[in-house]
Amino acid sequence: MRTFSNLVKPYIAWMSVFIVVPMLLIILYAFTTVGNEVLPFKFTLDNFIKFFDPVFLRVLGKSLQVALITTVISILIGYPVAYFIANVKENIQTLLILLVTIPMWINMLVRTYAWISILSDNGLINSFLSKIGLPTVTMMYTDFAVVLGMVYNFLPFMILSIYTVLAKLDKALIAASYDLGANRIQTFIKVVFPLSLPGVISGITLVFLPAVSTFVIPKFLGGGNYMLIGNLIETQFITVGEWNFGSAISLIMAMIIMISMVITKKFDKNVEENNSSGGGRLW
């Protein structure tokens, strides 16, 4: 089978150039500054130190806050939706899941752009409000608009990942719970919900990660002055041209995401262990 294993070699070369080298370049840029003609790079930690300015820390805090709010709202809405879909007849389930999936495939810029004409000061909502004699509300360029845009874009991921777990749930466990005298609420709290946690956790990663790093949604719905960490990186590379600082911010963001993934993974393992021991006790 040596002949076939050789097939991977060209890809290893490709992968080194297009995955490994870019990562190394980001690290190189983050830890250096433009040097002189003899030595083009100079090692420095300034790019990281610069980030610990209150202005930039506030941007980081805001990004985490917005992403967290988006994630919480997505769980609160996504869980019941996934739960209800998992409990209808199978052919209706397929249809509903298709309906949840379609928006995910529509260009994210188009989906976000769609909200501008609804939320703007003379948009659909405000013209409706003034028509029925109510005062208008400023929604565009607020936190509300940004969170709404994020929930709109990322909620399908949450619904799908919770649904996948709920749909695969062994119905015998629920029947057993009823047989052992639990009512509907007890069964949900003690059986269904704990077993569905892996879905919630993967949903959290699928919503939180893109929410932390997006720069399109804040730009469209938050306006030019609305800065999240993604916008900060974009500005450094596209407008300001400070690639070293931009690389450092990207590295910090990648670290934060890595850490949050490790935490959620650990949490996921705990859940699985509890579940398996719980299952053991059940029998």
Binding site: M1, L109, Y113, F215
Partner: protein, 266 residues
Amino acid sequence: MVGIKKSRWLPVVVVGTILLFFYLPILILMIFSFNDSRSLTVWAGFSTQWYTQLFRSRDMMEAVMTSVSVALISTLISTFVGTLAAIGLSKSRKVVKEVVLQVNSLPILNPEIVTAIGFMLLFSAFTIQRGYTTMLLAHIAFSIPYVILSILPKLRLLDPNLAEAALDLGATPWQALIKVIVPQILPGIVSGALIAFTMSFDDFVISYFVTGNGVKNISILVYTMSRRINPTINALSTILVAIITIALVLINVLPMMKKKEKVSYE
């Protein structure tokens, strides 16, 4: 069934509201692409003027061509390379497999913007002028990992003796590959290609960072134009939504119909 309290209307209301939330904005966007005025809030009668303008706009048509050609070429190449790499991986030693898969998963786990600036730095380090070629290269590069991941599970199900038998029966390795292995993993290859195509066609972040020389795909054009309200964006979006919806419905309905056929044969 699973349920807290059986209520007939609550699920319908909750799921219905969310679907309305998902589709209403898109629907409004589509309706106003047929508006007779520039306004995106006041209906002034039916017209197709924005579509006429769309097809007359050189920028728009160029962006559509860029998106379509980049998506087609990058899908072809990434599916080919990804298929070979996946087959090679499935026969490789465990260490090689693990290292490759680990590196392979980096672009999937990393935020898009990090992958994007990685490519940008790469192209500038090799002093490659940013434009169509760099966009194409980047799209091939970010698609391959997904192609590999969608083919590997199929290879795991494949009986390793099959290729062995083909070789014993006198097939050349290439024949064994094309006539025995590839047909068995075809569903994985097709779904990998579909993922590659849609990801490339919809991509904004990576294209935005690696392009230059005024080369724009649809997403970049929408991004630069959307600061002012412009109903031609609505017209373009309407066409995109229609294509994606038809494609998704076909992809989902066709297998169902095939399944039914199989059942009736049995």
